[in-house]
């Protein structure tokens, strides 16, 4: 009997295990059911109750979002939450912002020419703003592009970098996205009246101007001056300062001009608190300002503004560097020739009209990184790139094709690397002097 039992149940379990699970379709089906349920419920509820439910959910999902990426992606499909939920999955700082109720709900809607734009809310600090929005129309809007965006303060356009994502491939009547503004310099929020101006590239060039006021106090950026020196195989850097605001932590690093090698970047920067919890660099969004080739850069990390740790340690490792003189390629666009390239393992370069294609070996798994940076022509003028595209011929190679504007270029052109996986030994740490 015992044996029979074992055999039978093993067969049963084995049979069941053969059944592949279509996770994505199942998630889709959960969401469909939840939406169906919500719709029925909503019909029975007054509108204000709906709003209360929305706020509660917003707080609740912060606590459960880290469970699994699949789960997060399921929630992102629930109407109204998508723009911020996506951020939580890759930015702990945004998670803290929602936890601490630092998000300001606005819900300002306008309808014009059949298009409806809703500014859902704002997360604002001295360094920038995140503005989640929805956009809908009674027709497919997936190809409708944003033509222009301006953020104005008291009638003046703010000097800010505005970023937003492209839309879905699938047919859709509703877009849920976010705009991210990064200010060139910290702004003052005293008596500030803001206006978001957004123009779409539809037939009527529909333009929305949404005035908004912020009622919640704006968090002051915490700035710590360090001026701490770190060395990696005799190459020196100075960690100048650390500034922490709700949206991001900026680490300002200065390179020693006397280094024999040019430091290209830092693949492992993290902040650790006394409990060993880590904050890493921003993986999606603006990652740095400045340019290491000019020997100063501010690297952005996920913020821990709301945590108030007792101790905070900055750790820098996996420093990428190339010997000076071997840190660029030289090409002649007219002759379509690569004039020189350093003897780096696995490096391939091709020139074709305005395009430079470069292959380098990589151990990066899922992400691509820009390989080429500043380009300077024979007259010392910067050559600008119009576009860059990435391709993985196989998993161990990144291929980048950069297209340059070469109308008035004086050949040859020197193009500097921004990435090559040649790491300097060592990881250095420094304690941040918290007050």
């Amino acid at each position: 009997m015992k044996q029979v039992k074992k055999h039978d149940y093993d067969t049963f379990v084995k049979e069941l295990e053969q059944i592949d699970i279509p996770h994505e379709q199942l998630e889709e089906s959960y969401i469909k059911s939840i939406i169906r349920f919500q719709k029925e419920k909503r019909n029975r509820q007054r509108k204000w109750q709906g709003i209360v439910v929305t706020c509660a959910l917003l707080l609740l999902f912060v606590t459960s979002i880290r469970i699994s990426p699949a789960f997060a992606s399921a929630i992102a499909k629930i109407p109204g939450f998508a723009p911020l939920v996506q951020m939580i999955t890759y930015d702990k700082g945004v998670e803290d912002i929602l936890h601490n109720n630092y998000y300001e709900e606005l819900g300002l809607s306008q309808t014009k020419n059949g298009l409806t734009f809703t500014l859902l809310g704002v997360i604002a600090d001295e360094t920038g703003m995140i503005l989640p929005y929805t956009f809908s129309a009674p027709f497919d809007v997936r190809h409708l592009k944003i033509k222009e965006i301006e953020l104005r303060q008291n009638g003046r356009v703010l000097p800010a970098g505005m970023s937003y994502s492209g839309y879905d491939e699938k047919e859709t009547f509703l877009i849920e996205e976010k705009l991210e503004a990064t200010f060139k310099d910290p702004i003052s929020y005293d008596n500030a009246k803001f206006e978001l101006n957004i123009q779409f590239d539809d037939e009527k060039q529909t333009e929305f101007t949404i005035p908004f006021l912020l009622k919640k106090p704006i968090a002051k950026t915490k700035i710590y001056e360090l001026n701490e020196k770190m060395s990696f195989e005799e190459q020196h850097i100075i960690v100048k300062s650390v500034s922490i605001s709700p949206l991001r932590t900026g680490i300002t690093i200065v390179l020693d001009p006397n280094n024999e090698m040019r430091i290209l970047g830092f693949d492992d920067i993290r902040l650790l608190d006394e409990k060993g919890e880590e904050w890493t660099t921003i993986s999606n969004g603006l990652t740095a300002t400045g340019n290491l080739i000019d020997e100063e850069e501010t690297v952005f990390m996920q913020s821990n503004y709301f945590r108030e740790p007792k101790k905070l340690t900055l750790s820098i490792g996996k420093v990428k560097a190339l010997p000076k003189g071997q840190d660029f390629i030289e090409v002649d666009f007219k002759q379509k020739k690569v004039l020189s390239k350093p003897p780096l393992p696995g490096l391939k370069v091709q020139v074709n009209k305005r395009m430079v294609t470069i292959n380098v070996p990589t151990s990066y798994k899922d992400k691509n990184i820009s390989l080429l940076g500043t380009a300077i022509d024979a007259n010392g003028e910067t050559v600008y790139s119009n576009s860059a595209s990435f391709h993985r011929p196989d998993e161990n190679i990144i291929e980048q094709t950069e297209t340059y504007d070469i109308k008035e270029v004086a050949n040859p052109v020197r193009i500097y690397f921004t990435h090559y996986e040649n790491f300097l030994d060592g990881t250095q740490t420094v304690e941040i002097p918290l007050k």
């Binding site: 009997m1 029979v4 039992k5 039978d8 149940y9 067969t11 049963f12 379990v13 049979e15 069941l16 295990e17 053969q18 059944i19 699970i21 279509p22 996770h23 379709q25 199942l26 089906s29 959960y30 469909k32 059911s33 939840i34 169906r36 349920f37 919500q38 439910v53 959910l57 609740l60 999902f61 459960s64 469970i67 699994s68 699949a70 789960f71 399921a74 929630i75 629930i78």
Partner: protein, 170 residues
């Protein structure tokens, strides 16, 4: 188990995200059960979707948070049962070629036999061998003595053994 009960309580209080998490925990069991019954992906997904909706709507009827697993499995079993009955009637009416079904039948022979057992025995088997519950847990879940769990499992096994003897495999 405790975590699950906390989730169930949140789900019962109307937290749809907690509910989603529970569904994720039971995804394997639910989907594979549905597939074992209905023999194709499309119907299995439909069954899971319907079970999601019904359980969401009825979640306030869960009496004891520890019963959630059996409760969910029961809802799905009922849906699968209904769907299979419906499709059987259709099969008879339309006289569909069973070639495809037959090969599936062979592949999931054991599963197929189990889905012919009475519902409470099926519940036990799915929970024990698939969600990896111990006899003790099942006893606690269904609020029956451990001895009853054992005897029910035993009864199920006996039926299975009979089946194999008829087939002359033992």
């Amino acid at each position: 188990m405790l975590d699950e009960q906390a989730l169930v309580k949140r789900a019962m209080a109307g937290d749809e995200l907690a509910f989603l998490q529970l569904l994720n925990q039971y995804e394997q069991t639910m989907y594979r059960m549905a597939f074992a019954y209905l023999k194709n992906e499309h119907d299995a997904i439909e069954a899971v979707q319907e079970a999601t909706y019904r359980s969401l709507k009825k979640i306030h009827t869960v009496k004891e948070s520890a019963y959630f697993g059996t409760w969910l499995v029961r809802i799905l079993l009922n849906i699968c049962h209904d769907m299979r009955e419906k499709s059987k009637r259709l099969d008879l009416q339309e006289n569909i070629d069973i070639g495809n079904t037959a090969s599936n039948h062979e592949r999931f022979e054991m599963t197929d036999i189990i889905t012919k057992l009475p519902k409470e025995q099926q519940e036990l088997i799915f929970l024990k061998y698939f969600q990896d519950y111990k006899n003790q847990d099942i006893a606690a879940l269904q609020n029956i003595p451990e001895g009853t769990v054992k005897s029910r499992l035993h009864g199920a096994l006996k039926k299975l053994k009979l089946y194999f003897m008829e087939k002359g495999e033992l």
